[in-house]
Assembly symmetry: C2
Homo-oligomer: 463 residues x 2
């Protein structure tokens, strides 16, 4: 309970309005205003009410200005688990659910809450496919400091992220993995609600995030889902408590929707791997599929992939799963799956097998260590902002990204440095703002006289 109050000293307390019996009788079929007021006053909606709300949003009987009032009330009052389940179901039911009837393999996907240098989907999907799973993945575009898997894959000439359901199913069947963008037919209610959240300060709300993520992922027709919930400066939610709360809600609501769900909380203080920027990240993912790549990119891929294989019973335990995944790296079967997916989606698979073909920026600016010491910290958010500034990301949804530009790290946390040693290469198309860019890059590195311990990638595992 609780309601409007002047801030000074009055605790949330209901400000009752006189309501006549005649008005109360109408409450049997609640009006839009009654539904908004119910959430405003901190009450829990029935599942039927949540479905009615989403239906009213989609048929226009709830105006946008009423939807946003409800969203703000939900933001500030919260939604309970039953409401999250109902909201997920209702948003899922607003569109199609892929059946993938011709795909025999167990269907599993991964969702990351978004990070800096997060190219994991590009190596993970093909690897898991090579181990026997089917990965029907709907991915997103980058915005702000968070990169997007679709932008990265579009570094490969011809790669088409817009497949219809039939074509998507074919690629999943034949390559074991397909990565495409959200279509208008999958969870359209999420699309509509998200657009309103984006312009009303109601994005950062765990229950709404949960329903948004799960409605889209469940529309893929999957059996199991692993969630990579990022924690740290470069993450959507910087603090562990919020991230953990999000992860727990995702797991609980996903399970109540009948799916096998696991969440990993992983470190996102420093960028993942050595690259930030679209073509650079594809190349790093290919390196992992060739059995190489940075240790942390590789490890995160193995951690997530192991969960996926265990949940789909393609491996008895995580140890066996890791062995299978490592084999798929070593024998090139993962790389072959990526090439197959790219080819089936209209892309030029030579770019996968000969990644030196990927677009290259005109200039490389070296950023060198101003003093000797140990790399104790690399600020993912600072470098992400720099990546946006040089054209690798978007400030606004309508911005165009340049696939060639980005940041290549020459060091990782824990490395010892001598003065003048290379810290990073900025892949840029112009040197116009070179000094400012170098300064921004330098300020993202913290170099100390003593070596700090490097935090582990995996913070926690929630089932």
């Amino acid at each position: 309970m609780g309601a409007c109050h002047t801030r000074a000293n009055v605790p949330p307390r209901p400000l009752r309005l006189a309501t006549s019996a005649a008005v109360q009788k109408d409450a049997a079929r609640p009006s839009p205003v009654a539904l908004i007021a119910k959430k405003r006053d901190g009450h829990e909606h029935t599942s039927a009410e949540v479905h009615a709300l989403v239906a009213a949003i989609m048929d226009g009987s709830l105006a946008d200005y009423q939807t946003t009032a409800w969203l703000m009330a939900a933001f500030l009052r919260g939604l309970g688990e039953r409401e999250m389940v109902a909201l997920t179901d209702a948003m899922l039911a607003s569109g199609d659910t892929l059946k993938l009837g011709s795909v025999d393999a167990p269907k599993v996907d991964k969702h990351s809450t978004g990070g800096v240098g997060d190219k994991i989907s590009i190596c993970l999907g093909p690897l898991v496919a090579a181990c026997g799973a089917a990965v029907p993945m709907i991915a997103g575009r980058g915005l702000g400091h968070t990169g997007g898997t679709l932008d990265k894959l579009e570094s490969i000439p011809g790669y088409d992220v817009h497949l219809d359901a039939r074509k998507f199913e074919r690629v999943v069947r034949e390559a074991g993995v397909s990565i495409i963008g959200q279509t208008a037919r999958l969870a359209p209610a999420d699309k509509r609600i998200y657009a309103l959240r984006d312009v009303t300060g109601t994005v950062a709300c765990i229950p709404l995030i949960v329903a948004s993520i799960l409605s889209k992922k469940l529309a893929e027709g999957i059996d199991a889902l692993v969630l990579d919930v990022k924690v740290g400066r470069g993450a959507f939610m910087p603090d562990r408590a919020s991230a953990e709360q999000l992860a727990r809600s995702l797991v609980r609501v996903g399970k109540r929707s009948g799916k096998r769900v696991t969440a990993l909380l992983t470190d996102m203080d420093a960028p993942i791997g050595r690259t930030i920027g679209n073509a650079l990240e594809v190349r790093e993912a290919i390196d992992v599929l060739r059995g190489g790549g940075p240790a942390d990119t590789r490890e995160l891929t193995l951690l997530l992939g192991a969960e996926m294989l265990v949940m789909t019973r393609l491996a008895k335990n995580r140890g066996e799963a890791r062995q299978k995944l490592e084999r798929a790296m070593a024998d090139g079967s993962g790389l072959e799956r990526l090439a197959r997916m790219v080819r089936l989606q209209g892309g030029d698979a030579r770019y996968v097998l000969e990644p030196e073909r990927l677009p290259k920026a005109r200039h490389r600016i070296e950023v060198r260590a101003p003093r000797s010491g140990y790399v104790n910290d690399i600020d993912a958010l600072g470098l992400a902002d720099l990546a946006v500034a040089i054209g690798a990301g978007r400030k606004r949804a309508e911005d165009v990204v340049d696939p060639a530009v980005g940041i290549e790290l020459c060091v990782t946390r824990g490395d010892a440095l001598t003065v003048g040693a290379p810290l990073a290469l900025l892949h840029v198309q112009s040197r116009k703002h070179e000094a400012a860019w170098v300064e921004a890059a330098l300020s993202s590195f913290s170099i100390g006289a003593r070596r700090n311990p490097v935090p582990p990638i995996l913070i926690d595992r929630l089932r």
Copy 2:
């Protein structure tokens, strides 16, 4: 501080989003989303921000769906006194302020938060005018259980509530009082914001109510204002704490806007006087202006009028003020002012001087006491709902009211009754639902074996 939370067990706590330095730099000129987020997180807006918000609402750069998100955040987070002052000023500044330059008399008005049987404006305005004040009153229409002064005055054939500023000033100058409806040029921001509050469950919010009331009243160009804040079943806010909080906020914000402001908290458990319904209430107001009328209607008129005369220094103290007002009742000068106002606004003044001309309903249904005893309670809300049911009020803004119908009480609280004695007369146009109406009327009277003390009209006086 505080933000989104799942309800279960998490206290309001900020859910921080990673924000890059680039984004923070933009905060110098806050975006609409930044303003919404600021209120969402419980921070206080600067006055400049509040003015920017209202300007953005009026020029359309803040979309309705953003305005309503902000309104819900303001509802749940509250507004501080400085924000209320700024919101009042900004809404006032969105339109014209009447100058009334040709009116020499001190300008004073009364605002009631709305009650049942509240015809006070119709006798109070003319009486106070007869005592030397000018009363430029913008009044409203009835909705739900609350009656509206405009509807009541329109029982008088020809009475025009739509005057332009020039004509309004002329009536105030020549009659000392004019009662009209809100025009599109006075506080248009309030009109726009109120329309959005009405459909998003954000009406019952004290800071928003304060700014709404005061912006309209200050647009009248008044020097002083008395507020009749109703408490009880028939009031907008049934509980004393909320009503008192509203009254205090109104007085504080009104004073910070440079006006003399007093608020009376008055009882609204039982209807005011003996009538509910438009023509019936005009008749009762005329009775008061003729020196008669029910004791409580008369007393409430004197209480409010005395504050108005003291604030405008037309009386040294409340005692002297009451004497002046009583004289204006006894000598007919108040009645003459009402007749003058009606005439100047196009109405037929014979209806004021010969109120038996006022529209009459076809039937009168007697409601009789089912047992003997004392009238211990009369439920204002129950009777107001009945009045709406028989056509005297509106369920929806687009409903038409019938001026002739209504409820006439034959008793007041504290009266002794014998079985079968008349309790009320229902003035109706048809007997179709007679049994249900009588039952509804009866259930609004509480008759006991012992006489309960009758609560005083005046609960508290706040300056």
